[in-house]
């Protein structure tokens, strides 16, 4: 297997301990769980998405485990501004605040709470199951550009997480780039549904949800590959990464780093596990791998 030589990693203006980040929405509700993941080998962590108002999220069921992935509809539960205190224990750590809003002004407001307290922002323009937020905005290039600009003007690294639930993801990627994004994160979950035949109704309280895990890995690789051809800013690959070889594949498609989420379901120490397989003293430099599948 291809392996990487260990060394300092800077992606989209953020200094990371390695190429592996915890994805938003996974064990990101509390400062102590983020700390636990950092100490178990993650190169950086992305928080639960924080918005302008406190939200309790959707009624359950909020998640079901499938054969090759997870289907969830949490509904962006978050304590809003109170979360600033939650991550006070993580000062100077590679913490990215995932934020959402319904318009550029709300994005700017939420970002202002975290200035000086996080290494960067990840804009959630991609949650597929929250009315008026996430993908509701992230499918409109003009809104993506405006929301990105509202945060990037702070000068703090601003990553934009994209939804795959569009016809042409590169149009959205380019909009983020025009808005001053420091990096693109691709992809958020794929809009999906399962129905319980026994109960004769959709298995999630919100009916629709987002699919993650191995099932979406090929979609994520395709999106990263397309974005690498269309955009010049770095790409962080996300979606179904479970093994070190998946990391290499994402990087060959064009990712400068990867985010890992659903794999935590199988192994809470997945970062340690992948790190041990990924890095070798005699491995290739990341530059030799990133985008190397393109002609």
């Amino acid at each position: 297997m291809v392996s990487i030589r260990f060394g300092p990693v800077t992606v989209g203006g953020v200094v990371l301990d390695n190429h592996l980040l915890l994805a938003a929405g996974i064990l990101g509700t509390t400062g102590s769980s983020l700390k636990r993941i950092l100490s178990s080998g993650a190169g950086g962590v992305v928080t639960k998405s924080i918005g302008p108002y406190l939200k309790e999220g959707h009624a359950g069921p909020c998640l079901v485990v499938l054969e090759d992935g997870l289907l969830n509809a949490m509904g962006l539960p978050n304590p809003s501004k109170e979360f600033v205190d939650e991550i006070a224990c993580l000062v100077k750590k590679p913490v990215i605040a995932s934020i959402f809003g319904g318009n550029p002004a709300e994005f700017a407001l939420v970002a202002s709470w975290f200035e000086g307290r996080v290494a960067g922002f990840e804009l959630n323009l991609s949650c597929p199951h929250a009315e008026g937020y996430g993908a509701a905005i992230g499918t409109d290039p003009a809104l993506v550009e405006a929301c990105t600009l509202a945060v990037s003007v702070t000068g703090i690294p601003t990553w934009v997480k994209l939804t795959p639930n569009v016809t042409d993801i590169t149009a959205i990627g380019k909009a983020a780039e025009r808005g001053g994004a420091s990096a693109i994160v691709a992809i958020n979950t794929v809009k999906a549904m399962r129905i319980s035949t026994g109960m004769q109704r959709p298995v999630l309280g919100n009916r629709y949800g987002g699919l993650s895990g191995s099932a979406v890995f090929p979609i994520a690789v395709r999106c990263v590959y397309e974005l690498y051809e269309a955009c010049t800013i770095p790409i962080i690959g996300c979606g179904g990464v479970v093994t070190a070889d998946n990391v290499i594949e994402m990087m060959m498609a064009g990712a400068s780093a990867v985010e890992i989420g659903s794999a935590v379901y199988y192994d809470v120490k997945v970062f340690e596990t992948i790190k041990a397989d990924l890095y070798r003293k005699d491995g290739l430099s990341p530059e030799q791998i990133i985008g190397s599948a393109h002609e």
């Binding site: 996974i26 102590s32 769980s33 359950g60 485990v65 109960m199 379901y265």
Partner: protein, 254 residues
């Protein structure tokens, strides 16, 4: 691995245990270890974690919208069940059980596994005591009620003062968190926190260790996956007995 979709169960019977507590009997059994829980889907309402009181029953106290909706269900109606999840109590040979209120639910199957020598059972008043007869059949039950209508007048941790705690190899505790914290203080004083286990209740969304809504401070341990049963020494310097988080992740003092 296979799909973890909810399994539909029909309610065969609903048994009124106390004014606020009912047992729902299912037409399907779930092999489990005492202390494990299931995620119970009340269609159109919500999904909530509930300890199994036997392999085909849950015993529920009316507390919020979801449990109120359950209380309105009749035999023949359906629920969805995911699980069992979590770790359950560590097996022991001479176990002391300590239960308050509906906390007797996960301790009944432990007592039925024939390893509980003594069980301390508490409630506010006599007719709110849960599973007195069932527990009496399989273990030695000592009772405390807040108003003294049955057993000792006072809180259940006070019953520990008359026992030789050294005679037990494990202590299993489930009940209101303030009561469990009082037990933790007592076992810490006696240097036996490490052999005492507490079953925690926290707000949960996913139930499988992914979303993080039930993580406890400062360890970041997940109540749904690393617990819900935790050793006392892990809880000594923690949020246990002080605060918990609600659906939004906001801290709420006990």
């Amino acid at each position: 691995m296979s799909d973890g979709l909810s399994l539909p169960v029909s309610i065969l019977r609903v048994k009124k245990e106390t004014s606020l507590i009912r047992t729902f009997v299912f037409d399907r059994s779930f092999p489990f270890s005492p202390g494990q829980f299931v995620m119970v889907w009340i269609p159109g309402v919500d999904e909530i974690p509930m300890a199994l009181s036997s392999e085909n029953t849950i015993t529920v106290q009316k507390a919020g919208d979801a449990t109120a909706a359950m209380f309105a269900l009749d035999p023949g109606e359906k629920l969805g069940i995911r699980g069992p999840f979590g770790n359950g109590f560590t097996k022991g040979e001479k176990v002391l059980g300590i239960a308050g209120g509906v906390g007797a639910a996960p301790l009944l199957p432990l007592a039925r596994a024939d390893c509980v020598m003594t069980l301390l059972l508490g409630a506010r008043t006599e007719n709110e005591l849960l599973f007195v007869d069932q527990l009496d059949e399989c273990t030695d039950v000592l009772i405390a009620t807040d108003d003294g209508t049955l057993g000792m007048k006072g809180y259940v941790p006070a019953l520990m003062d008359d026992l030789n705690l050294g005679a037990y190899d494990r202590i299993a505790v489930c009940g209101p968190e303030v009561m469990m914290r009082a037990v933790l203080t007592k076992v810490e004083e006696k240097g036996i926190a490490h052999k005492t286990e507490f079953s925690l209740h926290r707000y949960m969304k996913c139930g499988v260790g992914v979303c993080g809504s039930c993580c406890i401070d400062p360890s970041g341990l997940r109540v749904c996956r690393d617990g819900p049963v935790f050793s006392g020494d892990l809880l000594l310097k923690s949020e246990f007995g002080h605060y918990m988080r609600d659906a939004s992740g906001s801290k709420k003092n006990l």
